[in-house]
Amino acid sequence: MNAPRTLTAAAAMIALCAVPTARGAAQSPAAQAPPGKGVVVKGRAPVSNQILKVTLPRPQEADLPNGIHLMIIEDHRAPQVSMQLIVQGAGGFFDPADAPGLAAFTAAMMSEGTATRSSQQIAQELETMASNVSVGSSGSSEFAVVSVSSLAGNLDRTLDLAADILLNPSFPDAELARYKVRQKATLVQMRSMPQILAAERYGRAIYGDHPNSRVMPTVESIDKATRDALAAFHKARYVPDNAIVAIVGDITLAEARAKLEARLGSWKRGGAALPAVTDPAPIGPGKVYLVDRANSVQTSLVVGIPAINRTSPDYDVFSLLNAIIGGGPTGRLFLNLREEKGWTYGAYSGLTAPRFRGDWSAQTEIKGDVTDKAVGEILNEVKRTRTEPIPDKEFLDKKRSLVASFALSLETPAAILNNYVTSRRYKLPADYWDKYPERLMAITKEQVQAAAVKYLDPARLQIVAVGDGKRIGEGLRQFGAVEVYDLDGRIKTP
């Protein structure tokens, strides 16, 4: 058993914006080529060159005897406290293959009754205080999260309820039957939403049968869930061994620790190691998947490829590459597909890098009759990062934006704390976030281009479109053979 350990509050001073600015570059018109044709740069705005030195708070940390790791950033600006109890190993990633959704059902049902409280008593006690305790475990997450928040004055009673929900759920049969009715209705509704259908097909395309492909449960898995199965999952998976408690709010470390020890002291270790994860199986060359949704007046488009895990040495470089292609309204996808073409309300890309090999994808909701052209533009933007050097100014601006945005997170301690939770989950070095700005600024554009060549092979990009097959199917054929699916996820015979 580890001796309790407490780190004193520490802070690192880092410098933001210590790089040439847009204004500096604005004096030479040749250097100010914008990142896309949809933008006109006049370069007349007063941008501060002052180096902004910020103090990045560090969480105070402690280990509880039963294995819980406590991380807290005190925030006394307002009388409220929020807490996330992260139970690693209790997420949908660890659903049995024949019972997708078991982790999510377990999490949701934990608030539907305990040894001493009924579903209504729990809801009424919490909501009368305007407090929240909810347990969630999204489709393929590796962990479940017990989210707790309340006005500071109601924290003790809120934590009493949170502990009861966490430790003593009774999974009453009557409430489980009701929950199943709601889940089935929700499932029907989800299958009418284009973005969810796109996520489901994309998950299959990239991850195959790997647990990370899961987006929603099935009618069969809802039907066959039993009280015993939920109770068994809870008993085996809700253990404190690798749990992290992250707290932000009007409370001190000592207070938080005492409150948790009083309520969770009886939570016994499970003894097993954190379950291992495996990489998804390699997939073949790029394919085109069409989910035929009649009467669609727009196409939900996702174009993606297997990528890296969180501890890959290429993570920072890939993150920067992603920001250049599709990070927000200054990314190339947005400037091209929206600001230049006017084909969409937005177009973005994202890198998902968990413990196993994740993926990179671009996504947009695009005007139906330009679906094939939009796929072509996305492929072109990917190819450009492999073949064309990134203009100096765009590259510098992008790095600067990522580093300088650190200042905004100082207003939201929960965001900073989340960085440190990431550090803990992936065993990143202690000074990982202190060094982040200088690490990012040191990246060269050659490195970014090399990453694009290494990871974004256009021939291996998977294309998923949810839209009206009669209108968009033909145009998609230029990108390869098209596999067509119906709204229930079944392949249609060609």
């Binding site: 914008p34 705005a45 501060s48 207003e411």
Partner: protein, 460 residues
Amino acid sequence: MRRRLIRVLPLAGAGLLVAAGASLLAAPPPKVQFSDTRLKNGLRVIIAEDHAAPVFSIAVTYNVGSRNEREGRTGFAHLFEHMMFKGSPNVGSGEHFLLVFNNGGDMNGSTNKERTNYYERMPGNQLDLALFLESDRMRALDINKENLDNQIGTVSEERRQGVDNQPYGKTSEVLEGLAYKNAAYRHSVIGSIDDLRAATVDDVAGFFKMYYAPNNAVLAIVGDVKTAECLAKVRQYFEAIPRQPAPPAVDIAEPPQAAEQRQTIDDPLAKLSRIDIVYHIPPSMTPDADALSVAATILSGGRSARFYDAIVRQKQLSSNVFASAGESRGPGLFRVGGMANPGKAVADLEQAIYDEVERLKSGPIEAWEIEKARNSAMRGFVSGLTSSLSRAVMLSQLAVYYDDPGLINTRYERLSAITAADVQRVATQYFTPQNRTVVITNPKPAGPLPAPGAAKGGLR
């Protein structure tokens, strides 16, 4: 080290909270302190210092929303909001995005029926940049046909993404078109694609001149700034922008409804039947609207609420039934609705909703239900205190709506004062059959594609 962001002042309503039940607050929440100045050109400037982080937020709220639109131009206020990013005398088209994000900031614009808001949240050293950006586009716009066509395309896709390509997307437009007779309120904010396509560069120029004047806007700055210095900079950037004649007042009259209105529509993208019911209610920030807001919490706030417990959990007619009293300076609507579970009749769901509404009028309201509404109003206030952006938006909006930014500190106290008798009185007065409009949306088996252009929005 504990530090308070803002000075703590005694709270008038705190006694109520403690007296109401076992729930205790250690101390009354802090209040937002701010300065309130009007420039010579009529621009109202509100500044609240907060040095907890090297960050500030600036919000500009213009007193114009979809309620100011004229016939044939539905959706224009929102389309115009997009044009505010397409160029002004010293900022190129789309350059606004680059200047804000490349310097570590965050920004957006949003339009509703009542107002149009723009904000930037930035590192503390970029105050000049933010003031420059907002003042340059308050002074003049630099718009051409190509930019306008580009954003008509973008906004059409925004409409398709949020409305035409989603199940039940058009339900709310049908509902408001049926319930309201008032021309300012009966069309949607996003408007119709035909109306968007009809917009001209002249429309943009005329709308700008009439509504985007300093005397029709409120600027709020919250965060790591010094009030005197900040105000001096605001004067430097904004005070020379000329004032304009006040825009025409909006007609907010809504004739009383004499009988229930009802319509059934088919939706080829939906899979379950859905019911939406609205009741006409008075404008916000009136005693009745406050009581109706508490009624919404009692009916649908969380799993302990009456709709959830009776209709979702016990009768299992729906997986979610909502109720809300939205914010409106004009005629308001109290909205109720939900989707029928597979195999359940929407008529049964409708009856179950009415049963709960009747129970609210005549049955007892428990003390805990009132306490819950009080605490949730307080929680809403407290959770806004740590975000500079949330405070900047609220201060500017409350100044535009009610000429009283100080409501940021006192609004929750109004809700805390509502009693069970108040709730029963307004439920009895407003939740009547003749005051309601009902729209039922039924799934329709996928049929042939409608003719191009048939996917129309606003009902006029």
